[in-house]
């Protein structure tokens, strides 16, 4: 039986997809701006963040309204509460993209410290994880969510490699500190994005299977 409630849930679904797409775009553009040292693009990401914030508030409001008016149960309840949590994670990811852009603005006029290889690689992983985690939510695909979670150690490893390399550079040449610290922070930001996507993936698994895997990585199997 089609319920009026289903239409409202569909609207929520669309909005979460929308904030997901906007967030994904923010990360992509932030990394592009780093690669191309494109201050205008970095500034555009920063400016666009208000729209993501607005949508976050709208989604929250919609979720609270649905809970108050429909008193959802079971799968509906899990969908809405997961939607609320994912909404917050995505908004946080978008904020991190803004952080990346702020670092880009700081170093864009200076020569590149080293050719960017691993940072774009890490950003590629982060973007894929964001895309997959949103897709897992939209398609209610717990297997895809598990795949996202299992990718996280790869991101951690890459971040560590980047940090080690930059620390070595810093030791040799303290004049490069400003640029090295900016890149260190960017590596850290990207790794944080990956952490947020694993939170999304954990929430998706709860939504689909009513199984709590948060803080219990061993239960992933």
């Amino acid at each position: 039986m089609e319920r009026h409630f289903d239409e409202a849930l569909q609207e929520l679904h669309k909005d979460i997809l929308k904030i997901g797409v906007m967030t994904e775009e923010a990360i992509y553009k932030s990394i592009e701006s780093l690669k191309n040292r494109d201050k205008a693009q970095a500034q555009a990401v920063i400016d666009n963040d208000d729209k993501i914030d607005e949508l976050e508030l709208l989604i929250d409001e919609r979720c609270i309204d649905l809970i108050a008016r429909y008193q959802p149960m079971a799968g509906d309840l899990r969908f809405i509460t997961t939607g609320m949590k994912i909404n917050a994670e995505l908004e946080r990811i978008a904020d991190i993209s803004v952080d990346i852009c702020q670092r880009v603005l700081e170093i864009a006029d200076k020569p590149l410290l080293k050719p960017l290889i691993d940072i774009p690689k890490l950003s590629g992983i982060a973007q894929n994880m964001v895309r997959d985690s949103i897709e897992a939510f939209i398609k209610k695909d717990a297997d895809l969510a598990r795949k996202v979670m299992l990718t996280d150690p790869e991101a951690d490893k890459l971040r560590n490699m980047i940090v080690d390399e930059l620390v070595e550079l810093l030791k040799k040449d303290s004049k490069s500190a400003e640029r090295a610290v900016a890149l260190l922070l960017i590596a850290r930001y990207l790794e944080r994005i990956c952490d947020h996507t694993t939170n999304i993936a954990e929430d998706v698994i709860y939504m689909v299977e009513a199984k709590v895997v948060k803080h219990h990585p061993e239960s992933l199997a």
Partner: protein, 251 residues
């Protein structure tokens, strides 16, 4: 040991098979809710626990209902003692057309015969205190019970049960005639009462079941489809029929 458990409980109203192989285990001093669409057998199940269905012509029961380990459906069961132990609150409050005081002592007089006035006074006070009516009614005990509000009448009916010291309280839609505030107060009372009694409530309101119960059973077409902790049933039911019912997708 469960307070009440059934083994392959079946019940027929003449040719109509109203309960089908119900196996349920109800724990002591908890609130157990039975939910399900109209005609699913939830009230029938409730009424088997104190054999109220016996009053209907053509009823046949198969299987076992163990209450504190004793089979309540075997021949020779003392039904008066059973209904004293397993009391019932109905949808519409049904006080007797007597005074508040007489309503409460009525059962005790039937069960225990002649009792001293002091003892009866004590029972009235204890029972009214148990349902949080004492302060409101202690000076009006001689007034007709019919003059009370609906909520007070329902509380009085619960007090009337408590007066005969039951173990188990069955509630069949006890709030369906009450407004939301009165409902909330009866639910608070239920939470108080579960410290001393095992409560089983049949309700059409899923929100009420979710709010007030510890365990929930979902019934459909005479079968107990799913039974578990209320939190699990309302957040993550295992059975698709349960999910469809509680999310309003059903029928």
């Amino acid at each position: 040991m469960a307070k009440i458990s059934t083994n392959s409980l079946n019940l027929w109203y003449a040719d109509f098979h109203a309960l089908k192989d119900v196996n349920i285990s109800i724990e002591e001093r908890r609130i157990t809710a039975i939910i399900g669409p109209s005609g699913c057998g939830k009230s029938t199940l409730l009424r088997t626990f104190n054999r109220m269905n016996d009053l209907i012509d053509g009823v046949r029961i198969g299987g076992q209902i163990l209450i504190d380990g004793r089979n309540a459906v075997e021949p020779g069961v003392d039904l008066v003692a059973l209904r004293k132990k397993v009391g019932m609150v109905f949808q519409r409050p049904n006080p007797f057309p007597l005074s508040i005081y007489e309503n409460i002592v009525f059962g005790e007089k039937v069960h225990a015969g002649k009792i001293s006035r002091d003892k009866l006074d004590g029972i009235v006070e204890y029972s009214l205190k148990s349902v949080l009516l004492w302060d409101e009614l202690k000076d009006k005990l001689r007034k007709s019970a019919l003059s009370l509000s609906l909520e007070q009448k329902q509380r009085l009916c619960i007090a009337r049960l408590i007066a005969v010291q039951p173990d188990i309280v069955l509630m069949d839609e006890p709030c369906s005639t009450l407004d939301p505030q009165a409902t909330a107060r009866i639910e608070e009372l239920m939470r108080e009462l579960k410290n001393n009694y095992t409560i089983i409530i049949v309700t059409h309101s899923m929100q009420q079941a979710a709010r007030v119960s510890d365990d929930t059973g979902f019934m459909l077409l005479g079968e107990l489809i799913e039974f578990g902790k209320t939190q699990d049933i309302f957040t993550a039911p295992k059975n698709k029929q349960t999910e469809d019912y509680i999310t309003g997708r059903f029928g």
